[in-house]
């Protein structure tokens, strides 16, 4: 399949990119790594008037340790995220989940910012963003603002970014010592989206779980925090499999899982409970 015609602009700085976006208005679409957008263009599910390719905006790439958080440039590829020593040390859940995104060739091109701004609830990284309370740094001609993950994902493929805004970086808070992490995904093949995924972070202290953060992939139009699980699992002893299972049984509370070719909503609910139990066990280090 061949995409419909579009104009192509390749700015070499963020300011130039913002100017182009401002001039083009809603006809323009930002191209990051293209691993979600190009398939959509090929299938003609998207037909922007102009593509603004951020591929040469070097200032948007890279990982920096900023004390209480790690700043990941929006155009940092999945491969560079997974292999970054800073990410591996301070945000292991990001590294773990990113390593499961599609396959190596896609991870060479696809970017963290691109997959978050694409906001596919079946993508792996939006749920990780919710679990870790990442913050999204967005720039427009008018200035910069920071959007919390809880306010970023509005609907299916829809974010809080304005048409004239570019996601420049993602702040990942450092959680400190005592945390264990896991990303559990159920999917058919490497390239297939998660039917359901679970991002879990668990803080362990004195043989018990003191705090947990759990978020779900593909259990609604946006990634969701499983707050019921988080509440229930607090105080559970690490070896108490039954307590973790009971907490995980609340995983599908307040979710509206989609129905599609791969799963009905009730099956997704079942998967959410089972995978959350596995994710909690693994994050607690007892799986």
């Amino acid at each position: 399949m061949i995409p419909a015609s579009f104009d192509y602009v390749r700015p070499s700085s963020l300011d130039e990119a913002l100017e182009t976006l401002h001039d083009q208005g809603e006809e323009a679409k930002v191209l990051a790594g293209g691993q979600s957008l190009l398939p959509l263009l090929r299938l003609r599910l998207a037909y922007p008037g102009t593509l603004v390719d951020l591929g040469r905006v070097e200032e948007l790439r890279g990982v920096a340790d900023r004390g209480d958080h790690v700043l990941i440039g929006a155009m940092t590829t999945h491969y560079d995220v997974v292999t970054s020593p800073i990410v591996r040390e301070h945000c292991p859940l990001v590294a773990l989940a990113t390593a499961t995104v599609a396959d190596p060739a896609v991870r060479h091109r696809g970017t963290l910012g691109g997959s978050l701004a694409h906001a596919d609830p079946a993508g792996d990284l939006p749920a990780v963003a919710r679990a870790l309370d990442m913050e999204f740094v967005a720039r427009s001609a008018g200035g910069e603002r920071v959007i919390p993950a809880a306010d970023f994902f509005l609907d299916y493929l829809e974010t809080a970014l304005d048409p004239g805004e570019i996601l420049t970086g993602i702040r990942v808070p450092k959680l400190g010592p005592g945390w264990g992490f896991h990303y559990e995904k159920f999917h058919r093949t490497a390239q297939a989206w998660a039917i359901v995924g679970v991002a879990a972070a668990v803080r362990r202290s004195n043989g018990a779980i003191e705090e947990a953060r759990v978020a779900l992939t593909n259990m609604g139009a946006t990634p969701v925090r499983a707050t019921g699980v988080e509440e229930s699992v607090r105080g559970a002893e690490l070896g108490a499999n039954g307590a973790l299972r009971a907490a995980a049984s609340r995983a599908d509370e307040d979710t509206e899982p989609p129905a599609d070719l791969h799963a009905r909503p009730d099956y997704r609910r079942h998967l959410a409970r089972v995978l959350t139990h596995r994710a909690l066990l693994a994050a607690a280090g007892t799986g």
């Binding site: 015609s5 190009l38 599609a102 060739a105 896609v106 060479h108 093949t189 390239q191």
Partner: protein, 165 residues
């Protein structure tokens, strides 16, 4: 139309391209590099895998304009002076193909894998090639071939044999 300059298999090409032209179409239709097949057209199968600036990419999911200034290596650029690349030879010797349609992509993905892991375990090969589908059910021999190719590359052609740059 944008003008781009791309090096493919060691030769530099200057081309005027429509922005919507995919890299795989540039390779096949403009440059005659039909060794790179189009499989699924949905970035699932990996048949069109090439190296772009040394790393594997699915050339159906890259615009030709994005490759401007880049260095592309296709399956056709692996052999030197009529001698097959060790990975090509290993695929031949291990009978790692039946219909052969996935083979160019498999070989390019395998060579990319060896950048990070020059002596991959069976599991590492299976994970490294997870983006490449074979529909003749030939994975066992493919895995054997990649491990054989890896051994031969480390013996015969230390590092620089691994396709440019």
């Amino acid at each position: 139309m944008p003008r781009i300059s791309v090096t493919v298999d060691g030769i530099r090409y200057d081309e005027e391209v429509e922005p919507r032209l995919l890299l795989v179409h540039l390779l096949r239709d403009r440059l005659g590099k039909t060794g790179t097949p189009i499989g699924c057209d949905t970035s699932n199968c990996g048949a069109c895998t090439v190296l772009l600036d040394g790393r594997s990419v699915k050339s159906c999911s890259v615009l030709a304009v994005q490759a401007d200034g880049g260095d592309v290596v296709t399956i056709e650029g692996l052999a030197t002076g009529g001698t097959w690349h060790p990975m090509q030879k290993a695929f031949h010797e291990e009978h790692a193909l039946q219909c052969g349609y996935c083979t160019p992509g498999m070989i390019m993905a395998a060579i990319d894998l060896l950048h990070d892991d020059p002596d991959p375990s069976e599991e590492a090969v299976r994970e490294g090639l997870e983006g490449n589908l074979c529909r003749c059910t030939g994975y066992c021999t493919i895995v054997r071939a990649v491990r054989r190719g890896a051994r031969e590359m480390s013996q015969e052609m230390p590092r620089e044999g691994m396709a440019t740059p």
